[in-house]
């Protein structure tokens, strides 16, 4: 992708000849109208360039409307750049809308052939992969049922299963790994890994920063159509997290506002923690008018903005506090980050419990990245260890404690080390 620009016109679109003709004649007689189109111009992408090699995964992150999807659409040749050009070597496949090719009245099997053909597979290729696709989707029972009777999850699973078996040279993924239930999602992630391992170049767009860090070596941060930063995924994500937390509105109207939130470790400000590490969250409040019986709440959101942890200064036994006009209040929370791998958002709320009034909320106040040595999933890290492993052959009962004696590297007393480069 080389110096790509993409312009859209905001505002009115002529969808009917009846609208177009008066507009054109109006424009003919009224020259001013022409200049107003310039104001409607809107650059969805400006001077964007990147290169992805085979076997490499490249992430694109950014807020909604930053131009991520437009970039992918240009890359997949659905849209033409206004300026600049792209070059794709080999078969390109896009996991953008995985069920786009489905027809409601067709059975699952018919839709596999239809969607496969749309994605550029030949009939023979689909036939040879049919069993794999069906097995992957886990819909063996329903494969001859019309897809209109499918649940939305089944529908999406079938779509992803077809799309995932295309074997492309270049794969474009737009936020589709959030399909289906947890088990299926892990399957998808596994499949993506296979695709990368098979030597395909992958371009990956996601809001799920965890997925980005899992897959991508390098990453691009887009903001209003411009590339803000390109580089190693971790660095770019840190930049993104730092930039996104600055968006708290400073509002002097409210009686008390959260003016500053800092997350730090022992040495100073930090957004990247090892699981189990201690973190301190410093909060600064400023009162614009007298307030009483205040309580400061801290809570953690996971990546899907589900609350995983919640407490407040009052609930921690520190009682409530009152502030006078102009007072600045400081409070530091110490947290043991017993969290699993992934991204969490510490958030702050200042409220008064007895009247249930909340004054100011900063959500997310920061975004932190937890790295756990053990391969643990979910929200919390319970620091697991395997301390005993036993195989019991039928009819041959071994008393406990002796089972591991014969195996190679496990003495019963010695806990099994959690693996550090596990699959996921």
């Amino acid at each position: 992708m080389d110096c790509v620009y993409k312009m859209f016109r905001k505002g009115e679109v002529f969808n009917s000849l009846r609208d177009l003709i008066p507009a054109l004649t109006g424009r003919m007689f009224n020259r001013q109208d022409l200049s107003s189109t310039d104001q409607r111009e809107f650059w969805a992408l400006e001077d964007l360039s990147f290169e992805v090699k085979r076997g490499e995964a490249f992430g694109i992150i950014g807020h909604n409307g930053a131009g991520k999807s437009t970039a992918l659409k240009i890359l997949s040749r659905i849209m033409k750049p206004t300026r600049g050009g792209i070059q794709v070597n080999g078969r390109l496949s896009a996991l953008i809308e995985v069920t786009a090719g489905f027809h409601q009245d067709f059975t699952g099997r018919e839709n596999i052939f239809l969607h496969g053909a749309i994605l550029g597979m030949s009939k023979r290729e689909i036939r040879s992969k049919l069993d794999q696709i069906v097995a992957f989707s886990g819909l063996e029972e329903f494969i001859d049922t019309p897809v209109k009777r499918y649940s939305s999850g089944m529908y999406a699973r079938l779509g992803f299963s077809v799309a995932a078996h295309v074997n492309p040279d270049v794969l474009i993924v737009d936020e589709v790994l959030s399909v289906g239930d947890y088990v299926f999602q892990r399957k998808c992630v596994e499949r993506m890994r296979d695709v990368i391992r098979s030597g395909a170049a992958v371009v990956f767009v996601s809001h799920n920063l965890k997925n980005i860090t899992e897959f991508c070596d390098s990453c691009l941060l887009l903001e209003r159509g411009k590339a803000v930063k390109t580089g190693p995924a971790q660095d770019v994500i840190s930049t993104y997290m730092n930039r996104s937390r600055n968006e708290h509105l400073i509002d002097d109207e409210i009686p008390v506002r959260i003016s500053k939130v800092t997350v730090r470790n022992r040495f100073g400000e930090c957004l990247r923690f090892q699981s189990g590490e201690k973190a301190w969250v410093d909060v600064e409040l400023r009162a614009n008018s007298p307030c009483s019986k205040l309580s400061l709440s801290i809570y953690l959101l996971d990546e899907q903005f589900q609350c995983v942890f919640d407490t407040s200064s009052e609930r921690l036994g520190h009682g409530n506090f009152s502030l006078n006009k102009g007072d600045v209040y400081h409070c530091s929370f110490e947290l043991d980050l017993n969290l699993a791998n992934g991204i969490f958002h510490p958030s702050i709320l200042i409220h008064r419990y007895d009247t249930q009034t909340s004054y100011d909320r900063w959500e997310p106040a920061a975004t932190i990245h937890i790295n756990s040595e053990a391969d643990v999933r979910g929200a919390v890290n319970c620091f697991p260890k395997v301390v005993r492993q036993a195989v019991q052959a039928p009819g041959n009962f071994n008393p406990p404690g002796q089972i591991l004696a014969g195996t190679k590297n496990n003495a019963a007393a010695q806990p099994v080390q959690p693996t550090t480069h596990g699959r996921l």
């Binding site: 859209f8 679109v13 002529f14 969808n15 009917s16 000849l17 009846r18 177009l20 659409k73 997949s76 040749r77 659905i78 849209m79 033409k80 390109l92 896009a94 953008i96 809308e97 786009a100 090719g101 027809h103 009245d105 067709f106 018919e110 052939f113 239809l114 053909a117 749309i118 994605l119 550029g120 030949s122 009939k123």
Partner: protein, 261 residues
């Protein structure tokens, strides 16, 4: 354009699949199933016979087998042309998600719509052959003209299909214009009547590119004579031009499809 045709050829499997889809979709969950392919031609032929009976009555002649066969032989290709234009016109707008989400040569949509209508045409032609046998029309060496005539018909249909499908993607009123034109086009085309009936003025009717094709089909199938070659050349030329211009037009607009649909 060579490059674009090559790409289209690479996607031929998709063309077959989408054609099959269009055919299957039309007959899924319907009681009559493939008999529907016969309904439209039967109606047109029936209407044609009524009209011809009126003509014969007015001029004091008897309605002959040749006249009925002539109407039937022209109605079936006409039904194909009309339905292929009608179906392809909405082929892009009915597949918005595919147009905006997945890349492939989009002319496959109107072409597959034409392909699906071609299937109906084949079914109807089978019934037509039985009718012609019953009417004792017989056959002659001139039947060899038939493939050329049908190919010209298809090129014309495909060309128009690409133009109207791309047009209706940008302007929804194209669909209504096409509907209106198709409804009344049968009066301007020698389907129910023959160009001969108009004497010298009949030449004007042949300017309609579909007219020489239909008359040609009538000539070689029913009347056992060679079609009018100069008019056939005109039609073929017109069909080729329509097809290539339509294709170029479609390809020119294609990059803007995703953001305009």
């Amino acid at each position: 354009m060579k490059e674009e045709f090559r790409e289209l050829y690479r996607y031929r499997e998709l063309f077959y699949t989408l054609t099959c889809r269009d055919i299957k979709v039309r007959y899924k969950q319907s009681v009559m199933g493939f008999l529907w392919a016969l309904l439209m031609p039967t109606l047109i032929v029936g209407a044609g016979i009524v009209v011809r009976y009126g003509f014969a009555f007015a001029s004091g002649k008897n309605l002959e087998n040749v006249d009925i066969a002539g109407v039937a032989v022209k109605s079936v290709p006409w039904a194909f042309l009309v339905s292929s234009i009608r179906f392809s016109c909405i082929s892009l707008t009915a597949n918005t998600t595919l147009v905006t989400k997945i890349y492939f040569p989009k002319e496959i949509f109107p072409l597959a719509a034409v392909g699906a209508c071609l299937f109906d045409f084949a079914v109807a032609s089978g019934a037509l052959v039985i009718l012609l046998v019953i009417l004792k029309v017989g056959w002659s060496i001139y039947l060899l003209w038939l493939p050329t005539l049908l190919l010209t018909m298809m090129l014309l249909g495909a060309g128009i299909s690409m133009i109207v499908s791309a047009g209706s993607l940008f302007f929804r009123d194209v669909k209504y214009i096409v509907e209106a034109v198709l409804t009344f086009a049968i009066f301007f085309t020698p389907v129910f009547y023959d160009v001969r009936m108009f004497g010298d003025k009949g030449e004007w009717l042949l300017l309609n590119p579909a007219a020489p094709i239909l008359e040609g089909i009538n000539d070689c199938v029913v009347r056992h004579q060679s079609p009018n070659l100069s008019w056939l050349a005109y039609s073929s030329f017109f069909a080729l031009i329509t097809f290539f211009l339509g294709y170029a037009f479609f390809k020119h607009l294609e990059p803007a499809f995703a953001e305009s649909v």
